[in-house]
Every structure is written in structure tokens, then in C-alpha cells.
Symmetry: D2
Subunit: 286 residues, 4 copies
């Protein structure tokens, strides 16, 4: 019996200038086979702020914290111990994550930052005709070709993109950060009839440490991680949130009032030996 | 005891030139208080095609039909009898449709055709600051102001928009069809911190008859119909699908192969006396 | 001594519903070595409408007709005989069209339908680094590579694009008509530091006959025609208007009042033997 | 006899990492009634670099400097004395700047950052029908209404926009810098059939000092300055460059090689008494 452990978390500082309602998507997701022990602490002007409701909003274990924050200097600390006990040495193959047909359909549709309905012609000229779902090997190969293309054609440049940029901007400028790489992989995959979605994750080994984002592509009814940045070992990732694109997984959403993020620190370590995994190996993420 | 009845349905004809996988979102949704009896028939070159699986993909009763179609002239007929038995004369107030906080949050986010993250400045200059959720009356007034603005500022022009146009195109051209009116209402509402979503519906009384689309805005935790086209009585609508925007509710999605829609007829009648309801009255939809 | 002759022209019908001011850009351009004899006739409800001022608005011989039209059924007929007398058999090499540095600079800048500032990263990944101006052979090769790429990657589909689409839409959908092909060639060239501009032309041999549009790329200080549609022999083209993109060369601009185009016929014949010219041969246009 | 004097200029520092071809648009424009005495000096790694050709590329006196720069630390200093001798006290009325019809037509067309063809519906709903050209008073009033609207609805926020943003972004975000304010005024005016163009200027009194940009609107065949930022006295402006939008007037264009701007200082002083001029007074600019 093998156990893998992660310690993940973050500290987020805000200047709240009007009483604010905030949703945080920073908690490690509860997943089959994972034990999560965690806590979230809030201080306002240095004083503890009491409890925070957790909304378990999704069947897949994704958890949102809702906060009502008064005016002041707010500091939020999240810390989690995640353990996976396995009886087999394979990192993730033992817990296949099946996608049902309706779920897959939802991830074929265009979304805010992944406007796959606008790039169909280009995608099919660049990558060829879609591969039928029963050809699992062909679909896997096509997804890897997309990820390799994005990896080779895109520069990782901090600050090169803005919050309203879509995958089309990334395609045209050949620059972006992790969310942009993920959006571009997802958008091309959907345009080729491959269901694809966005996952925000903690990424042990990422340099510099920060929240990370990857694409997941559905092949043969199962989701595989594709990270065209190749900046973090995929088998060491642990999931925070899943959605159509970054609109679904923003780690902070202020939906009332006014709060400005003034500082952020992210922690993600694991006792796994971090592999230098090759881009073309498919990995599944809990 | 009063019963309201609808007969709704559609006939869709396709020329299938490569074996195609298709998802249909045309079935009347199952909702609390509604009885739905329906059937879907498929013929290929005039011959019956056997059974079609229904995927009940959503807790709210939305149903997708998945079809595997061979090459040929395909005709699909959907027909439903919908009945609502009520003990009180009010059209819908007795079955409030509550939205939980996480659901509301999801409908504050930008989506493919409702890029609310791009119009925040304009929306707040045009309609004023967002109203806090506890001020239910103020939020209802704000939502009505948005819908009235879209009604007054937008021309309903068949063929004036394309499938990849977003609410920004509608805002800038002041033209559109029902999906565009709904997208613009939704986009402005989200930019003002009002959760808003898209519903495709059968609409008795619509002229000319077709599939219809409306916005729903969440006020005080409940969803109200806003139809800035004012082309159909809102209390007579019956729901097909609900989502962030038209990407979620396309009545036909061909996700493999090739099929061209060559004809469509929609039917929607009710035994209700169709009211000529005013734009500013809030209506809830089953 | 050889003479080449063209007969070109058009008939345009309008329903004018409010007195309208209109600019027409349909006259054959006056160019060194060309003789142009032409005339424009206007009838309103079948009756001749009097004279129309011609504005010779450009040093390069481009001519705009300005019309003040009353309400009614307006028919405009333009007809021109164009002759080029040459002492050498080469079609155009004897009248080089030099571009001065400032003119070239203007055609490196992004324009409405050629947003070259948005595709720099993609263009350099697809076609390599820009070639310095002194390497005339290298620049010519690069321009031909761009045109071949657009030819191979884009489908000519009538009705596939709209009047507000830019070259980015053409790149992403892989579809368009002649103006879209020209816009895409121009946009990519500018992104690679090759001055490029748009020319509307009469095109003998075009099937079906219509106004046509091509790109011109400046290599070694001279302008060469690039037509990625390959639908008309380039050496038979005769110029109407030149500009940054289709915004500069619209054959009809209604800048006051209301007039709807109800019919258009274009004529373009030449006594040249129409070559089936290869895409990769550089051609200069008078 | 009265004389008004300006001293204007700039210092621009570059790190040139590959031999670069550069066009500078910083020289004060030569205009009727103005005397300009100026010079441009270039040093490379602290050593004088020799002469720089000036290209008088436009009939209206606009002047571009073309530079071929070697690798190194490049410093460029431009300095100009501009004098206007007048026999009448009025600041500019005595030298009307007439626009011919063809020039006006060119400035009705959409351009890269002023996509007036996309906002026609919105503009006419917000500002009413276009006013015919013979109603000079009505056109002037309409142009002032546009400028006032942009002034009241837009926040001047340094860093809020990027180089590829268009007037539509400014309209939707309600934020921008001087080029964005000018683009939005121009775009709306064109959508209302008012010819409008972009002018880069030296602006004595601007705080903080920088290059400035304004719109010019053509009313009754003459160009009037509209500055929706209201940040500098309009009668003290002196013109650098004129064009359709910022694409035409970029103060630095690197069209070959690689050079990064590392510092910029702008100087603009005048012996005029700087008026605190009201937004609604029309001003003409030399």
C-alpha cells in the first residue's frame, strides 16, 4: 500500500473598500480515493473573522467558499493536507474518471474564452478531419498533436495577456500564460469534436509557484490532462476546480462591493518523486 | 382545480451526407407540477428508424435525444402533451423555482455569447451601480429597466445576425432575433451583478411560429422571465432547455458526421387564454 | 506597336427612398500609358438625370463620381474603353510603378479589415522572420509563400462572409470571397513587414463576372499583384481603385439619405489572349 | 501684429538590439501661417550619428524622419521653435482649413481603431439621425453632443488600454487614454456621417506632459478640434500628424529590426496665455 501526500494552500490579501461578497475557488476538490483535511482562516485588520460557509456546489467535489467581508485589510489563508492511498503503484489509472455522454456534449460547446465555433475552418485545415469517437487511438493521437502544436507555437510570457483575452488572441499573438495555453488547447480540441475542459490545479514543482491551469481532453469516455506549457509534472497536480474555461474557475470572484487583491502566495508540495514527464504521455488527474 | 394544457412539437428534416451523431434539445422539460407525455419518431428515406435514447442530463428535467443517423433523407417528429394541474388560479407563483447560491454564481459569469466581462463600464454608466441582493425590489426594478432598454433600443430583424454573433454585436448594431435579445438582456444583467440565464421555449401565440428564446433573471433567489422581444405571452411559454446562452441550448447539435437542416416546423398551442401581458410584469416559467 | 483594349463597365440599380448622396468608385483609373474614354449615365424612373461631377481625388488617377439622387428608381450605367499602346510585347514591365518610402510606410500599417497588429506572433511562427528590404528575392519569395498559403487554405464560398468581417475571420473560418482573400494576403504581408495594399479591378475572364479585388505587395519599391483566389488572369486586370483595404474602395458609398442596391451587372472584356497564369509569377498592374 | 511662439520637442531613448529601420512622426507640421525651425539629433552609445533624411510625405506639411539605426543605446532629440504671426487677434479663425469632398469621404470610412461600420445602430439610437451637411449648425451641435457624451461617459485611466484596442473597447469599458477618447469621438461621428480624423499634437499645459491626441470633425467643409479628455487648452495645441486613427500617427514605427523604447520625454510650452476653454467651443487647429 502506497500513500501520496500533498500540502497545498494559499494566502490572499485584499483591500476591501466597500463591503464585499466574494466567492473563493481555492479548496482542493474532494475526489474518490483522496482524503482532504483543510481549513480557511480570515482576518480583518489583523483580527479573526469567524466562520465561512462552504458550498459543495458540484457532484464532482468542487467546493466554493462564500465570504461576506467588511471594509478593511483582509487576509485569507487556506491550507490543505491531501492524501491518496492506493494499493497499486500506478499514479492514477486505477480511478478512471468516466464522462457520460451529456457531460461530454457540454464540453464540445463553445464558451467565453474558448470560442471553438469561430475557428472550425482553420482547425480542420491545420489538424485534419475529426476522428470518430470509436477510434480511441486516433483521438488520443489528435489530442496530443494539438497540445504539441500549442507547446511549440506559443511563448510563455508573463503579463502578455489580459483577463478578457480569448484563445483566439493567444492563437494570433503566439503568447500567453497557463490559462491561455489551456484555452487554446481546449478550443482547438472542441473544434475537432474532442470534448475538452479547463481545470485549475495546485502544481507541485511549478516554477515560479502560482495557481496553475491545464486542459483535460475526453478520449474513450475518460479525461486526460494536457498541459501545453509543460511547466509542471502532470501526475503531481491536484485539482481545485473544473469548468468550461477560466470563467468557471476564477479563484476569486467579487460579486458585490469592492475588494482589490493586493497580494497572493501559493503553496504546493508533495512527497512524490516529481517525474520530468514527456508531453506526449496521457495522464489522468483525480 | 384548473388544468392548463399545451400541445407542442416540431418536425425537422435533414439531408445526412455522412453518418452523423446528433443531439436534439427539443423535448419539453419535466418540471414539478407538469405532466409531459411525448414521443419522438425518426424516418430515414421514409422508413421508420427505431428507438432513440433519451438522456436525462439535468436535475431540472431537461432532456436531450441522442441520434445516430445513417446517410439519407431524415425526418424527425417530436410531439408532446403537457398538462399542469393547479389548485390555485395564479399561473406560476405556487411553484417557486429557487436558485441556490452556487447556481446563481454560475450565472453571473461571462459565457460565449454573453461576454459580460467586456461591458462592465458601459453597463454601469447606462444603468447605474449594481443593487445589493437584499434589496429585492431594487433588483427587480433594475432588471425591468434593462429589459425595457433592450426592447426600445433593438429592432427585431430576421436574418440580421449570425450564429457566432455575441450580445456585443447586438448592442452595437441594434438589431437581432430572439436569441440576440435574450443574450443582450443576460449580458447587461450579469454586468450589473444580476444572475441571468437563457431559456429555449415553446411559445404559443408567437408569430410567425418558431422556437423561441428568453432571458431569466434571478431576483430574491427566484427566476423570472424577461423577453425583450415582447413577441409572445410569457405566461404561456413552456420550457425546453436552460443554460448560460444559446451555446447550451442549440436545438440541434451535429457532433460527428455531416447533416444539413433542410426544413423545420414548430407547433405550440395552449388552451390558456393568451394574455397580452405587459413587459414590466414579472413572470415565472415552469 | 501593340495595343491592348478593354471594354469595362457596370450597371447599378438602386431604390432611393430618401434623397441620397452617393460616391461611386467604378471608373477605370487613369494610369501612365493607358487611354481611358468613358461615360456615366443616370436615369431616375426612366428619365435622364443630368450631369455627375467626377472628383479626381488621387494623384494615381483614381476617380470618384459623386451623385445627388432624388427619390425613385435609379439606374446608373458606366462604360469605358481602355487602351494601352506599347512598343514592347511585355505586358507591364515597361511601366514600373514605383512606391516612395512614405507610401510604403502607410501600407505597413494596420487598417480596418487588415488588422496586422493582431497577428504578428502567428504570422512569424507560420512564415518565419521578416526578410530585410534589400533582399528583394527573399521578399518576393516570402510574398509568394503567403499567397500560396492563402490559396491552399481558404475556400471561395459565395455568401460566406459579411461586410464587417476582417482578415482574422477569414483566417479562422478558412472561407471567403475575393475581398477576404485579398485582406488575408495583405494582413499577413504587413505582419511580415511587406507593404501591401488592396486594389479593386475589372477582371476579364472572371467567372461569374463581378467586381474583383486583389492584393498588391511592394517588393524592391514596386507593386506586384497577388490574387490568392486564382480566379482571373492577373495580366488582364484593369484597376479601379487602390487603398488600404475594402473600406477605401467600396464601389458604392451612400453617405447621406437612403438607397438600396437592387441589381448589379459588371462587364469586363479584353482583346488580350487570356493566359492561364500560374500563381507564382509576379505581375504588375497599371 | 501679434506673434505666438511654441517650443516643442522630445527626447526618445532606445535600446537597439538588431539594426533597425525606424520612422519617427514627432516633427511639428509645416502649416500655412506657421514658421517652423527645428532639428533632430541622434546619438549612438553617446556619439553623434550623422544626418537623418526627412520625408515630406504629405501635402499638409506632415513630416516623417526615417532612421537607420545600428545596435546600441540610441538617444534621439527633437527640438522645434514654432511661430505664428497674425494680424488679427483671433487665434485660428483667419486660416480656415478647408477639406475637399474626396478628403471628407475618406474620413467617413471605418479604420483600424475606429470601426464605425460596426456601431451604426447604436450610434443612431443614442444620438439620433444624421444631420444633412447643409445644416452646418445642426452638424456642429451633433459633434459637440458626441464629444460631451464621451467626456461624461469615459474615465481617463493611465494603462487601462492596450495598443490593439479599438473604440469599441473604449465604449464598452468606459476607460481609456487620450488616443482612446479621440478614437471613440471619431468612430461615433463617422457612424453619424460626420467626417472625422485623428491628430497627434504637442499640447502646452497638458498634465502630465506627454504626446497628446485629439479628434478633428469636419463641419461645413472645415476641421474643428474635439478633445473629449478636456485635459489641454485646444487653442494652444500644435499639430504633428494627421490620419484616420492612431495607426497613421504612431510617433515611432520600427519596420525592420528590433528597438525597444526605454525612455521618453516630451516638451511643449507656449507664450500664449493658456485659456481654460470650454468643451463646447469649436476650435480650429493649424
Amino acid at each position: 500500500l502506497t500513500a501520496t501526500r500533498w500540502e497545498v494552500g494559499c494566502q490572499l490579501d485584499f483591500e476591501v473598500t466597500e463591503p464585499a461578497s466574494m466567492a473563493l475557488l481555492v479548496a482542493a476538490a474532494r475526489r474518490p480515493g483522496l482524503q482532504v483535511q483543510d481549513g480557511l482562516a480570515v482576518t480583518v485588520d489583523g483580527v479573526g473573522h469567524g466562520s465561512v460557509p462552504i458550498v459543495d456546489d458540484r457532484d464532482d467535489g468542487q467546493r466554493t467558499h462564500l465570504l461576506e467581508l467588511p471594509v478593511g485589510a483582509v487576509s485569507i489563508t487556506y491550507d490543505a493536507q491531501v492524501t491518496r492511498s492506493t494499493t497499486a503503484p500506478e499514479p492514477r489509472g486505477e480511478v478512471p474518471i468516466a464522462a457520460d455522454p451529456a457531460e461530454q456534449l457540454g464540453y464540445l460547446r463553445p464558451s467565453r474564452y474558448c470560442p471553438s465555433d469561430r475557428i472550425g475552418g482553420w482547425a480542420q485545415r491545420e489538424f485534419g478531419e475529426p476522428v470518430p469517437p470509436q477510434d480511441v487511438g486516433g483521438q488520443a493521437e489528435l489530442a496530443r498533436a494539438v497540445t504539441s502544436w500549442v507547446f511549440e507555437r506559443t511563448d510563455y510570457v508573463l503579463g502578455s495577456s489580459g483577463g478578457t483575452d480569448s484563445a483566439i488572441d493567444t492563437l494570433l499573438t503566439s503568447q500567453g500564460v497557463c490559462r491561455d495555453f489551456a484555452h487554446l488547447v481546449i478550443t482547438i480540441c472542441r473544434a475537432l469534436d474532442l470534448p475538452a475542459r479547463f481545470a485549475s490545479v495546485y502544481a507541485p514543482g511549478l516554477m515560479p509557484m502560482d495557481f496553475h491551469a491545464v486542459a483535460e481532453v475526453c478520449i474513450g469516455g475518460q479525461w486526460y490532462v494536457h498541459d501545453a506549457t509543460a511547466l509542471a509534472p502532470r501526475s503531481a497536480l491536484t485539482r481545485i476546480a473544473t469548468g468550461r474555461d477560466a470563467a468557471d474557475t476564477a479563484f476569486v470572484t467579487v460579486y458585490r462591493g469592492r475588494a482589490e487583491l493586493t497580494g497572493a502566495n501559493v503553496l504546493a508540495v508533495t512527497d512524490q518523486v516529481l517525474p520530468s514527464d514527456a508531453l506526449e504521455v496521457a495522464v489522468q488527474l483525480a
